[in-house]
């Protein structure tokens, strides 16, 4: 039987890597389409929601990744 801690750690690492990859994909998509994203986000008016939406999406993916990142490194809140 696989030891409990190793099993849990492995799952955490896989989850962290998956979230990191998702975060990386989002950044790649942003910078590969830099010009069109900038153009769209600077049109003004209701297009102000474009940077807001981008910021929300990035905060969800990258926020989850960074949370898991420190956890995997063993930096956890005091119990």
């Amino acid at each position: 039987m696989t030891p409990f801690m190793a099993d849990g750690d492995e799952r955490k690492i896989v989850k962290t890597l998956a979230l990191g990859f998702l975060s990386l994909l989002l950044y790649a998509a942003l910078f590969l389409n830099e010009e069109s994203v900038l153009q769209l986000s600077t049109l003004g008016g209701w297009y102000a929601l474009v940077p807001v939406a981008i910021a929300f999406v990035f905060s969800v993916a990258h926020g989850a990744f960074t949370g898991h990142f420190w956890d995997v490194l063993g930096v956890k809140a005091r119990k």
């Binding site: 039987m1 030891p3 409990f4 849990g8 950044y27 942003l30 910078f31 830099e34 994203v37 900038l38 153009q39 986000s41 600077t42 049109l43 003004g44 008016g45 297009y47 102000a48 929601l49 474009v50 940077p51 807001v52 981008i54 910021a55 929300f56 990035f58 905060s59 990258h62 926020g63 960074t66 949370g67 990142f69 420190w70 930096v75 956890k76 809140a77 005091r78 119990k79």
Partner: protein
């Protein structure tokens, strides 16, 4: 303005620069609730980003960062969302007015006038507020060894005592009702400062702490909610004019989210006064930085003699350097405190595990069976009703058998609704609760059990009990059960179920008439590590009661033969392990519905305790609690112990 044409091309060095500054800014924000922005805006401007775009992009990174930080710190119970939103909304008005004021000054006195106004605002606010925060922090630091709780300031007590009809609101962080006529000016000032020097928190956090009476940890976390509201509003405002460079914002966000997570974790390791130490230190250093450039702006306005170009550049350079130093100093203090705290916790854990003899029945062959079944610190949650009688009785019995310490708590609701009922009613409830706890303490003393008591107040029973479990570092929490029958779910009590689903430690649910004499225990296992954890605990507690254990692994009729064989294997393994540990054990593999079979086995064996395993605290698992475990908890006539593991 054609903002897009004003957006700069980014090179790798600039990206790394923004990532690093973003990380440090995030670290400080996660810890003190704000900060970082006063460096980020000039940092972007030093890369030739137009000032307005730098401000707009800073706003756009600020609200998602604050959101992530607020969620993280809400998990530690630091955030008062209501207070954050109330202050945030008035801060939004302050931001708009502050921006308007700055534009007026710029029109009248030009860039130098605007810069002088900003620097003077920095110097005045930081000198007054920063000086006081640092002075208070030093005082708190000296007395830190003797006091872990913060005192509510005299000013805050006066503010809380003021009752202005139709304006009063209850805030959890203050545990008091305060008039919005106090929170609104505070929010407005926070917003004005945010629009002037980009760090509203330098007024918001001290204001919530000294003026309203929020603990500094909660004030700093609640400021993140304020920052979210202001940042979102600011992003929409600037975005409406197409001024947000979303690339800059997302690069800074990439670094700052690493930082804010770390800063938030740091708050769980420090005494509250450390928030003031970090904030006060940064504020005083920034004060020096801004004071240095005042002569430059005075010279530009012709109010003093003209400074040479070299002198002005040097002063500006040194000023920016000190700002970076201020941020780095704050980050250093936080990281040092975090490292110290983590080291101290590791030492405490090592000392604790070394002091206790492992109670594992696993042996070397089954490494997942970690030391469990230790019941040295027992939290008894009792509401004083007849349904808690069983829990009280068994808590004392178990504590005596296990030489455990008891912390008996009872709950008095103190939310807005209760407050509205009046002070007298609340006082009466508190007196009843204390009398009930005194009776438990007397019973414990008679039984020779060490017992402490506490009346806990709040709006959510199970959350408060969970907090008490964490604070007391309970190995076990004991609660009563309301009964059984057709309305089982309602009867067992939502609080008990939530507690079982969310607690880190094991939970013993005791129906009113159930008694644990140690006739026989039943442990249920599906072969998972949770079942193994239950077996370890069963072995440990059976030795204390000198009783025998029946191990059950239920085979469902639809299962193929191989699964049934597997169930026999599970039972044989656990029985073997228990016997090798000196505990009398036998096994059964009944066929039927899992919960029914566990209950039937317990009834047949006249067992007085059913022991089951359950995992930790994530939401899906809490929902899944509804199946077999919940059915057993609802319907068992004897006590049921739910052994928790991660």
């Amino acid at each position: 303005m054609d903002a897009a044409t004003a957006f700069i091309q980014l090179d790798l060095l600039e990206v790394v620069y923004l990532l690093v500054v973003g990380f440090i800014g995030g670290l400080v924000s996660g810890f003190i609730g704000s900060g970082g922005a006063f460096v980020l805006t000039p940092a972007m401007m030093s890369m030739d980003v137009p000032a307005i775009v730098a401000v707009a992009s800073n706003m756009c990174h600020k609200f998602p960062k604050a959101l992530v930080g607020a969620i993280k710190r809400a998990r530690y119970g630091h955030v008062d969302v209501k207070l954050g939103i109330v202050i945030g909304v008035s801060a939004e008005a302050g931001v708009l007015y502050g921006a308007h004021l700055q534009e007026s000054i710029k029109r009248a006195f030009g860039d130098a006038g605007s810069n002088l106004y900003v620097s003077l605002a920095f110097v005045v606010v930081l000198a007054v507020v920063g000086g006081y925060v640092l002075w208070d922090a030093i005082g708190a630091h000296r007395g830190a060894a003797s006091q872990s709780e913060e005192k509510v300031s005299r000013l805050a007590r006066c503010v809380q005592a003021v009752n202005i009809p139709y304006t009063m609101m209850y805030f959890r962080s203050l545990d008091a009702r305060v008039s919005v006529l106090f929170t609104m000016p505070l929010g407005f000032a926070t917003g004005m400062l945010a629009s002037t020097i980009a760090v509203g928190g330098f007024i918001g956090v001290p204001g919530m702490h000294y003026l309203l009476g929020a603990p500094s940890l909660m004030a700093s976390a609640t400021e993140l909610v304020v920052a979210f509201v202001m940042g979102l509003g600011g992003t929409i405002k600037y975005g409406w004019s197409g001024l947000v460079d979303v690339r800059l914002a997302m690069i800074i966000l990439a670094g700052s989210l690493f930082g804010i997570q770390l800063g938030a974790i740091g708050t769980t390791y420090v005494r509250p006064h450390m928030i003031k130490v970090v904030m006060g230190t940064i504020m005083v250093l920034v004060l020096v930085s801004r004071a240095l450039v005042i002569p430059v702006y005075l010279s530009d306005l012709g109010l003093i003699g003209t400074l040479g170009g070299g002198t002005a550049r040097t002063l500006k350079g040194v000023s920016f350097g000190i700002m970076l130093f201020a941020l780095a100093t704050g980050a250093f203090i936080i990281l040092a405190a975090l490292q110290r705290g983590m080291r101290a916790q590791r030492r405490a854990e090592q000392a604790e595990s070394g002091a206790v003899e492992p109670a594992s029945v696993a042996g070397k062959a089954v490494p997942q069976l970690s030391p469990l079944g230790r019941f040295e610190r027992v939290l008894l949650a009792s509401d004083g009703s007849e349904f808690s009688a069983g829990a009280q009785r068994e808590a004392l019995r178990l504590a005596k058998r296990c030489n455990a310490r008891i912390r008996a708590v009872t709950f008095v609701a103190s939310d807005l609704e209760q407050e509205a009922m009046g002070e007298q009613v609340l006082k009466q409830e508190l007196n009843t609760a204390r009398a009930h706890l005194d009776r438990i303490a007397a019973q414990a003393a008679a039984a020779g059990v060490e017992c402490e008591t506490e009346v806990i107040q709040g709006s959510s029973v199970h959350e408060q009990i969970l907090e008490e479990c964490e604070r007391f570092r309970a190995d076990l929490v004991i609660v009563g059960r309301r009964g059984r029958g057709a309305l089982a779910r309602i009867m067992v009590g939502d609080t008990t179920l939530k507690l079982v689903g969310s607690a880190h430690c094991s939970v013993l649910v005791v129906p009113r008439t159930a008694e644990v004499h140690g006739r026989r225990f039943v442990v249920a296992s599906d072969g998972s590590r949770f079942g193994d954890a239950a077996a370890v605990a069963a072995g440990s507690i059976a030795k204390r009661f000198d009783t025998q254990v029946t191990v059950v692994s239920v085979a469902v009729p639809s299962h193929p033969e191989a699964r049934r064989k597997e169930a026999h294997g599970i039972v044989d393994r656990i029985v073997g392990l228990l016997r090798s540990d000196g505990v009398g054990a036998e096994g059964e593999v009944p066929v039927g519905l899992t919960a029914d079979m566990i209950l039937a086995t317990a009834a047949r064996a006249s067992a007085d305790l059913i022991i089951m395993g359950s995992r930790g605290r994530n939401r899906i698992e809490r929902l899944l609690l509804g199946s077999n475990l919940e059915r057993v908890l609802n319907r068992c006539q004897c006590a049921a112990l739910v052994v928790k593991t991660a």
